[in-house]
Amino acid sequence: MNIELRHIEKRFGAVHANNDINITFKGGRIYGILGENGAGKSTLMKILSGYQPADEGEIRFDGQLVDYRTPQAALRAGVGMLQQDPLDVGAFSALENFIFGPLSARGLRGKAAQAELARVCERFGFEIDPELPITQVSIGGRQQLEIARLLALGVKALILDEPTTGISAEQKQTLFDALKQLAREDGMTVLLVSHKLEDVIALCDEVAVLRAGKLVGAQVLPATTRQLVEMMFGQALSPAERPRSDLSGASPALKIVHATLRSKRLTVEALSLTLRAGEIVGLAGLDGSGQELLLRACAGLVRLSSGQIWLNGLDMTGESYRQFLAAGVAFAAAGRLEEGLVAGLTLTEHIALSTETGAVVSWERARALTAQLLERYNVRGQPESQIQQLSGGNQQRMLMALTPEQPTLLVLEQPTRGLDVDSARWIWQQLLERRDKGAAVLFASPDLEELVTYSDRILVFYAGKSTEIADVHPQRTSVEMLGRLIGGHFDEVTA
């Protein structure tokens, strides 16, 4: 299906999110939609998938003018969107998630629904157990289910928002193969929104680049990463680097000895790990493989079921989170607004909350400090604005501003989640500065590129078991190999 967008306009208050966008997406081709955070690509995709109506402009499918304002109407017109976090219901089984809504309204139920699901799965090599509760299905599996559902609904265009985050190398291959097949054989129009230029280059036929609400370029691939980055930012970025620090003679900042960690679903056993001051260790693994558990144990948020944990030579086993903080641990959770910052409080109030120790708050002092920190951390926001009004990148900068200057151990859950290349790199500069001052850094990330670029060592988790890649080097350690490990192929790869 050919999709034509003409003069699409969308404003949010003073922000011109989409400024006169004109583009045609042809059936049978795969497009990469690129742009930094806030460039307007999500807005455009939301307009196309019915989540948000455009202020002005028209959309034509195969020359026919269409007008829809809900996702359901967009689906009827033939456009389906796969959200980054699949929009399914945790309490339902895979099959229930498959049918609820429009498919069941068409009377597809029971055996017939199961057969339909099996048909799609077989064609694309998806592996979905229809009876399994969706909470026990990986993100990759939930994606496959959602794609199967959209196909069963007969969509002719598929929009995917960051589909390769948090899935294994195999699942990515399956996904890419399915998308190529859909484009080539079914004439489907596929739009891929992604920060990962490697994925775009590997999969797409063409790219469209947005910057500050405008379409600034469209190009038929192949192109190099460098060319795409130039289009996105208007300038070339030097490749990200991690100057290594000399670790010889560094004292251990964190030491875990033969630890067992338990959560409802998972047990991590016999784990030992030593982190020296100035060392960066990355944790890799699919969601719920055990890396989150280790991370939170190191921050003092999860107690060890057995074993010991030492910080700077101090036995911290069984101590409270408060004690961990006092011992120099700084923790930043993946959910910025859920666990890191307090929605509803202003920037000044955040600073006061973390720096004022007396019973009475000195607002004068807090305001002065806030102005100073906003300047230093390049946070674009007013001291009196509430934190949730800031963009994701600025929230993350604020979180950095609130992190102690010289911690013993920095524990970070997905430190650059949802940030564009530029903001992510800025965050890492800050982290590296702290590392240079002697902090040990322990971080988890679903972004394999990030892990390989910044880690001295990587611990890969699969179903509670872990294997270590010692001496990570961007030239020697490949993202593909890491992807295989994440999928559980420990034996095939010798690090």
């Binding site: 996702p71 359901q72 689906l75 219901v89 945790g90 609820f100 809504g101 429009p102 309204a105």
Partner: protein
């Protein structure tokens, strides 16, 4: 009904009936993601309204249709029950309107309505207190009533009990066997996902809040027209609404477990009164009356905390999984939250 044990059990079923109905109404509402905290006040207000409507209907039937009081009773009770359901639905609609359309906090509004409902009922119903009104008498269900033991316990009851059985089964059927049930649960679990699939989230929330409220109203009628027949000031059923709310949680938002919870609680109550009447046992009556509530809290803690998991770990592995399935319960994920289109 010669065996005292059987008659006690039958009594428990009778006493539990309004609780079952009320808890079922709340289960429907909460499964759609709305908390109707006004349950206690709702029940009292609808009990009063149901009684007044039924009483007036009976008077009219006697004077204008020339019926005798017993002849008019059945029809009056049905009219009264409908009146009670309308009142329950209206109170619930207030909750829906204030939380969905006016974006107010469900808990705050529900709490205020609880207090208002009770006071309003006392204020409006003073003149009808302690007068004899229509009530329905137990009727044996043909065939079923003759089953030994089971029949005597469950099928020699009044109409309200039979309605409660149908209600429990019907609710289960709705939730787990119909397309509407799938949409209902989706709205309570993840409204964004439901919306994306074209399910009218807020319209369904209105609908199921009203429906649940009507069922709660029916529970009110089950008090004033059946179990504790008549209307008194202060209302005799005060406090039961809170119990029904707790039973919903205890029952894990599952109709059958909610039913069991209601029977369990009524059983505890009846045990307390048996102990009271037993000569030779000297226990402070107030303390004894508090016992079921304390037990309720303990079981709630057991079911909805990590304690259950620790308890299960002790058991042999093959037993763990089925027991966890039966005992564990997670509330509807979007319970008490607002849904707005972004």
């Amino acid at each position: 009904m010669s065996d005292p044990l059987i008659s006690t059990l039958a009594g428990i079923v009778t006493n539990a009936t309004p609780l079952v109905i009320a808890a079922m109404g709340e289960t429907i509402t909460e499964r759609a993601g709305i908390v109707n905290l006004s349950l206690d006040g709702s029940i009292v207000l609808s009990a009063m309204s149901g009684f007044v409507v039924a009483y007036s209907a009976q008077q009219i039937l006697i004077t204008s249709a020339g019926m005798t009081a017993p002849e008019a009773a059945g029809l009056s009770v049905i009219i009264g029950a409908i009146g009670a359901m309308v009142v329950g639905a209206l109170v619930a609609l207030l909750i829906a309107f204030s939380s969905i359309s006016l974006r107010q906090d469900q808990v705050a509004v529900g709490f205020v309505l609880t207090l208002l409902g009770t006071d309003l009922a006392v204020f409006l119903g003073t003149n009808y207190a302690r007068i004899p009104g229509p009530q329905i008498l137990p009727t044996d269900l043909p065939l079923l009533a003759n089953i030994p033991v089971i029949g005597e316990i469950f099928f020699q009851q009044s109409g309200f009990a039979y309605v409660s059985y149908l209600l429990v089964f019907g609710t289960w059927w709705l939730f787990f066997r119909t397309r509407q049930g799938l949409s209902l649960r989706a709205v309570g679990e993840r409204p964004e996902a439901a919306f994306a699939r074209g399910i009218p989230v807020n319209r369904l929330r209105y609908l199921y809040t009203a429906l649940g409220g009507a069922v709660v109203g029916l529970a009110g009628a089950a008090y004033s027209l059946n179990v504790r027949a008549g209307w008194t000031v202060p209302p005799a059923m005060g406090g039961d609404g809170w119990i029904a709310l707790a039973i919903v949680i205890f029952g894990g938002w599952h109709p059958f477990r909610v039913l069991i919870g209601a029977y369990l609680f009524a059983g505890l109550r009846s045990l307390a009164s048996v102990i009271q009447r037993t000569p030779g046992i000297e226990i402070n009556i107030t303390l004894l009356n508090a016992a079921p509530w304390v037990l309720m809290i303990i079981t709630l803690l057991l079911v909805s905390s990590g304690a259950l998991e620790r308890l299960l770990q002790v058991l042999p592995r093959p037993l763990q999984k089925p027991l966890r399935g039966i005992l564990r319960s997670d509330p509807p994920a979007a319970l008490g939250t607002r849904f707005e289109r972004k």
